[in-house]
Symmetry: C2
Subunit: 291 residues, 2 copies
Amino acid sequence: MASFELRDFSSDHSMLALNTATLGHNVEGHGAGWSPEQVIDACAERGYGAVTWWRREIGDRAAEIGERTRAAGLEVWGLCRSPFLTGPLAPPDRQSVLDDFHASIDMAAGLGAASLTICVGGVVEGSHSMRESLKQVTSIVAEVAPVAQAANVRLALEPLNPVYGGNRSCLTTVRDAVDMCEAIDHPAVALAIDVYHVWWDLSLASELKRAGAERIVGYHLCDWLADTQDVLLDRGMMGDGVADLRHVRAAVEAAGYDGFCEVEIFSAQNWWKRDPGEVLDTCIERFRNCC
Amino acid sequence: MASFELRDFSSDHSMLALNTATLGHNVEGHGAGWSPEQVIDACAERGYGAVTWWRREIGDRAAEIGERTRAAGLEVWGLCRSPFLTGPLAPPDRQSVLDDFHASIDMAAGLGAASLTICVGGVVEGSHSMRESLKQVTSIVAEVAPVAQAANVRLALEPLNPVYGGNRSCLTTVRDAVDMCEAIDHPAVALAIDVYHVWWDLSLASELKRAGAERIVGYHLCDWLADTQDVLLDRGMMGDGVADLRHVRAAVEAAGYDGFCEVEIFSAQNWWKRDPGEVLDTCIERFRNCC
């Protein structure tokens, strides 16, 4: 690893972004239920640098919410997310996938979001094959990439923890994600790196070096709880788990990433039940001290 | 991959071994509750080739059960397992780990088992470091390896799915397991490969080639259910999930493995509730047709 200086956030959280899933806004029936305006005001008054939204919060107000976010001094960092492209959770056919993919790009563009997150979806039903499934993902993302470029939105392929390989993401490692970027070889196609999904991978630094700075458009913070009770909705607050957060960030920054650090904590039984203001304050404190 | 011929099991299950966890015998309060004698008779009459036992079934009858197994025409393929060596589930200190590790080697030797499975344990508490945790594992296994060699027992390091990284295994990839074998460099130290843990890994074939035939002492069968309900006790029967079972076996055999295929299905809500005879019959049918 070349010599570089890790960014010092110990007394500065202007590079902290809120992913609103941290307030439970990604799942119907959970979380704070704040309006986008409440989220924006709460983040702005605390000095967050940006917000990443979920589609279900935006509806038909993309341009309005984008402008409102920026007017408060925050950037719109990302939008979650494209449809699943393959597997049991994807829309029923390729055209439906493409239609919803285009709709999500339109929304990201309306918001002025820098990137759109892609969780690619699980193994193609009946295929019993990661390779075949990844081929189908590659084909769809390659087809959509020019649309994203025209909309000025980067597509952020997010490799997910292998525990999701069956249903949510046949893209399970940074290595495979970099390979997919290289295979598609389009400037709109890049990566997002999430602590929850990659913390265990000793090849992280070398794979991110291989990706290069231009291909890393997101870095997501949370922690892995040693005794996790639910692999979907029991993520830990930074510092409460076993991940080496400083080491992961060093790998990301050594590869050239200098963007926001986006806190994204799915936590149905803990953080989503707390006062949202307390959650936002805790994220800042942990970001400064543990990340 | 060099040209090789995949073993043909379509009308021959003499290389099928039963891991008794498939009958729920690994967890108190679950499963068939059969005596070892019942297990032996049921496997022998169906033409299984070997049995892998769990320590809780053996008690102080290791030599007796080993002889009884062989008298029925079956091999004792393995014993599950050493204590966790690190992390929250390990014994409280290094000496306690070593004592129980030695006890498990003694039992494996008493049974005449070819190998003892090692699930290495999770991240060392307070360390927040996979690397530090793996170092501690390496140190313990290296210390115990000569004891195992003297007892004629191979130590089978089993990399577990990264979902267990926090509590059950900081050894999460075949790559890291091969690295650990190379670091220890002792003839008693080898690998076991389990479909459940490696099915998602596209580097499997190349890593197993790097390991070499001498270092692969176990191959475990089950399937990964796309919509798994529990990452510990909801494994699938071969053919019911999304894993490419033929591809995984091809990787193992191309690396030179020619030992038993050991079916090991933890399934509290499905297979453990069925008649054990039906389970054993189904394993044979699926082994011949799906594996």
